[in-house]
Symmetry: C2
Subunit: 297 residues, 2 copies
């Protein structure tokens, strides 16, 4: 697979995911569904669901049966952004270049839309698991995703992130926070795809390493973008981390140091894919995509 | 099974559930887990999880393998109370006789504790589904619970309830709101247990009818208690519905009319159990328990 092929793989998978997400939350005339769709369908790079597909396909799964699980992980990611933006949390007013949910729909509906996206991610995945070729593998994948999203993963990371605001967290603390806040779900996307694809133990171990390293790289890149890019590029209000008194990789390593760290993590992630050969080309391409966002000085 | 036996069945199952819930969210020194445990282990009648057990056992399931699913439904119920109490929602300060989560832990952690309880309910249930005697039945049960909790059920009911505040909703509207807000999850507890127990189609239909009727009765009783009991009995601030401008059964039917409606719904629920014979005695006892809360004038 050439670099060109990999790029078109990513674009095509993104299109399939956008199409599936459109059908995952149907319109029923209620403001609740409107609010869910507003956040879910308002752009987004779809990195996590593409990762799930690419990981599953790398070990031989068909794409179509993986799609509901890919949508589920994007719904969980979207709910987490929606709740993180709330006034009681990061109090953000701009996301993906548009007003955040609570600005547009009010705080009550923003909380409920997040709750519903999270719950219905499981509605969707458990519906698909019942008819998946290997139902027990499908439950195992859903379990990994839930585990990564809850009090052992993403929610714990967010709670710790808020608690650390204004403090003087060191690099190890910042890394632990981000391993849970961002890394866990990204890694679960990769592992979930691999489990759905029936990966052997060795392939699963390699893909887990890839997911862990890339999950960390993702957050380093986010910190670089928050510090350096304007909101026209990120679709968010820039400099929020500093305004909230959050310790970031940029603060700890400098912009150049953070960029170098992201590149090193990407290289470790890609090296872990060696044994998988050309089937893993899309995963390599995704690694470049994640880190490339901040690679240009 | 005598009335006495049924009462001790309920007490014994409540004890098993409390014990299982204690292990479902372990302590790790974090405030997040503390907040989760504060809401989850702070009393509660455990009606939904006992319903799930009683329904599964009525069609022949063993109790022990049902427990993680019973805990899951109680965790989902608890998260919904926690989020409903938030300042942006019902803004309640008292629940089960104690300060609500956001009063005790702050708004950010209350939101996150709710998110984590909801997510980890699925972590727990999908872990148990993998080793359940019939894994596909287990996924189906988890699916029913998720469906009832999300944008087709409980969350939609809560959104509609908030939207209807201060309006002049009629009985049909109030009933539609409560069918989703309270009824759906209660009915899913009954159906989930039945599916886990491998119920035949006819038994499932009967148990569904029981769950629907009792789910409605439950909310009628709640309205009666909100209007008539003091906070020493309910553990909540009384008269909140009226203060929030919510239309209730009591307002629409009067206290005596609402009580009569609850009793009629209970009778319909219990009648649906006829074909199940003595195995359904605990479910009959639960119906009395639900309605008995408000039956005495």
């Amino acid at each position: 697979m050439t670099a060109n092929d990999a790029a078109s793989y990513v674009a095509e998978r993104r299109r399939l995911i956008d199409q599936a997400l459109e059908g995952a939350v149907t319109v029923d005339g209620s403001r609740l569904r409107d609010a869910m769709r507003y956040s879910l369908l308002g752009g987004g790079k779809r990195i996590r669901p593409i990762m799930l597909l690419a990981s599953g396909e790398a070990v031989g799964a068909d794409c179509a049966p993986l799609l509901p699980f890919a949508c589920g992980i994007e719904m969980i990611h979207t709910y987490s952004l929606l709740h993180d933006d709330l006034p009681a949390m990061d109090d953000d007013e701009l996301r993906r270049g548009r007003p955040t949910s609570h600005v547009r729909y009010g705080e009550a509906l923003a909380i409920l839309a997040g709750d519903a996206l999270l719950t219905d991610a499981f509605t969707l995945m458990t519906a698909a698991a019942q008819t998946y070729p290997d139902p027990v593998a499908a439950i195992r994948a859903v379990h990994e995703i839930a585990l990564a999203a809850g009090a052992a993963g993403m929610v714990a990371g967010q709670a710790e992130d808020i608690a650390a605001e204004g403090g003087d967290a060191d690099l190890a603390t910042v890394e632990r926070i981000h391993r849970r806040k961002t890394g866990a779900l990204l890694c679960a996307a990769v592992r979930g795809g691999a489990i759905l694809g029936g990966a052997e133990e060795d392939a699963l171990t390699r893909l887990t390493l890839y997911g862990e390293r890339l999950g960390l790289a993702f957050q380093v890149v986010d910190d670089v973008l928050d510090a350096t890019a304007d909101s026209g590029v990120t679709g968010k209000v820039g400099g929020r981390d500093r305004a909230l008194g959050k310790r970031t990789y940029v603060e700890l390593l400098g912009v150049a140091g953070a960029r170098a760290r992201a590149v090193a993590l990407r290289d470790e992630a890609v090296a872990a894919l060696d044994v998988l050969g050309t089937a893993a080309a899309p995963l390599r391409s995704l690694a470049d995509l994640v880190v490339g966002r901040a690679a240009a000085p």
